[in-house]
Symmetry: C2
Subunit: 371 residues, 2 copies
């Protein structure tokens, strides 16, 4: 991107978020091959991890023939329907009085995860919809437990179109929980839902082998470029490019402090750049004194360490050793060379949380590379 | 709120964010008294710390006669103008080629923070606007440094309508930086901008005494209920109520693990509640195994500890010792008894970051208590 290397004397103030839908669709297609013969489906909950679920779902629908989507809430489902007219949309948090009307109107498919919700469903049943049943296999989050399952009648069990569960530790290939949960899931399927299609894995489970893929895999994080199999090199392409302009370059004399609460003090004379992005844009404050900004000059990457606290609108970084920077040039917070996984590690969290925060911010100049 | 104590057997799935504009306006009015005779102004940058800047600015304009607003970016200013027709809107990140048109169209007032930006301003000057000049006094972030100021001509200096700076450590009453920055600011004012109105403090500085208030104080965090003077009891009212429904209650047998990566293991039989909110809603993942959910039963508060990892859509909490809970009841993540400051402390960050994340999420049922 030539915005990186632009050197004319111009002033920019606004961060730029670029989302590569082409790569996203390519990731999805590659995942589809990896999980075959299981059927792929796309997880676009939490506004497609913050990237605009309407845009992401439409791209997957049009360019990758995706016809099965997962969201967390019915109001998220409503936002994508226009672009995916005849798709099945599953709602993971299920159905309640606060979403019933949306289900009635749009025929979303609720995931039923508790006896109480099942009771609610039976009372308000919607013609033509067969819900998914969520069973608990070891995560101890949502889902029917064994005693709940035992209470289901044969008629109850025939009400569903799919049985699902969710893995706790699928990003660790050899974690004992994987085998444990697969065993539980297999037993439950056999005992209660022998004829029902099944879905166990999200995109981390996709890499654990065919038996984890069952009939349908819920592809989310990996599609967005996150390495969900961190025990090996990422097969996915980065889809995020986050850049922000240098607002000011200044000398920082030896002994001076930087940022809120004066957490950084210069031990020698430094040169600093004030970059127009902060936690108000979704760059975690935990990057304070830890994170970095990448500057690309003539195709070469240079790292500038973030010094002092990340503030709401700005970060300050040390550019003492980088030649050729000037006000108006852009630095990268996320790019191919410093990915979501990298920034998440430096921020002490997971890529999912970074992504989920980022895209919802409304003060980026936002660009989508078309699929 | 009776939603807390509702006990009928209903299912809810959606978190509810309630923002009390009445209290926000009362906070602003109280701050106005504290800083008098300095003039108040409202900081509504970052979408009013995530609470919807258009709504917040309009309430302050109509109910508290606020006529001076601060945002970070011109595109944020554009979103509030309809509700504050004849107000002055200052843009802290300043002006650039990516925002010039918005400044021309709406007469926003740029804050000029570097010689390069001043050069840009002189080239693209907009009739009828007198910018603010930002001078650096110790934060080492944005602002003219002394050598830059020396290069300004008398004519340059007459171009501005106000001189501002920003404090680094104003939330610590006795921090040496406060006196140091005030001294620097006073010297710079005298030497270069003797006749210009001045603004040094945001809402933390507001509590440091009259000399820190100068002519105008930029009231942000405190107005939103954050204690910006943590060395004493908060004088501000909490304005945030964040609740989420219990989706499921389950038994957790001794020895079982909870959540992703199995970070929690039950040492005795426990009862858990799965609550429909997660980091996808802005509840930091750093609350994993640390945070809490408050349940109010018959007017009494009960704390349920978050166990295991916070996931994107759900948290799991331990309700073993709480009687009378059932599926469909709501727990509080933020309320008068467990404020923004409390959740921030537990999450290892500051209230500003929590607030900035929260309100931008679009899958809440959102309610405003009118001013």
């Amino acid at each position: 991107m030539n915005i990186f290397t632009r050197k004319e004397n111009k002033i920019f103030t606004t961060p730029v978020l670029e989302i590569d839908l082409k790569r996203l669709v390519e990731n999805y297609r590659l995942l589809t091959k990896i999980i075959a013969p299981a059927k792929p489906s796309a997880v676009v909950k939490d506004d497609a991890y913050g990237l605009n679920a309407a845009v992401v779902a439409k791209a997957l629908y049009e360019k990758a023939d995706c016809r099965n989507f997962w969201v967390a809430h019915a109001l998220e489902a409503e936002r994508i329907i226009e672009g995916v007219p005849d798709a099945e949309i599953y709602v993971l948090q299920g159905i309640g009085v606060d979403s019933l009307e949306l289900f009635r109107q749009h025929k979303f498919i609720p995931v039923i995860s508790s006896p109480e919700m099942l009771k609610f469903w039976k009372k308000h049943k919607i013609e033509g919809i067969k819900p998914v049943i969520h069973v608990e296999t070891g995560l101890n989050r949502l889902g029917f437990r064994e005693p709940d399952l035992q209470k289901l009648s044969a008629k109850d069990r025939q009400m569903f179109s799919m049985v699902m569960s969710h893995l706790a530790c699928a990003d660790e290939k050899d974690h004992f929980m994987n085998a444990h949960q697969l065993e539980n899931f297999t037993r439950i399927r056999k005992r209660y839902f022998a004829d029902l299609p099944a879905s166990l894995s999200a995109s981390d489970g996709a890499f654990l082998g065919e038996e984890f893929c069952c009939d349908m895999v819920r592809l989310g994080a990996a599609m967005y470029g996150i390495n969900t199999a961190p025990y090996r090199q990422n097969q996915m392409q980065n889809i995020i490019n986050l850049q922000a302009p240098i607002l000011q370059i200044a000398q920082l004399p030896k002994g001076d402090f930087v940022g809120y609460s004066a957490t950084y003090r210069a031990t020698t004379d430094r040169t600093i750049a004030i970059v127009s992005i902060g936690y108000g844009d979704g760059c975690p404050r935990s990057l304070s004194n830890v994170g970095k900004v990448i500057f690309k000059i003539d195709g070469k990457c240079h790292e500038a360490r973030i010094i002092g606290r990340v503030s709401m609108d700005n970060i300050i970084c040390d550019i003492t050793d980088i030649e050729g920077l000037s006000v108006g040039m852009f630095g990268s917070l996320i790019c191919d060379e410093y990915t979501l996984d990298d920034i998440a590690r430096d921020a002490g969290t997971i890529s999912y949380e970074i992504l989920s925060r980022l895209g919802k911010n409304t003060r980026f100049i936002r660009r989508y590379i078309p699929a």
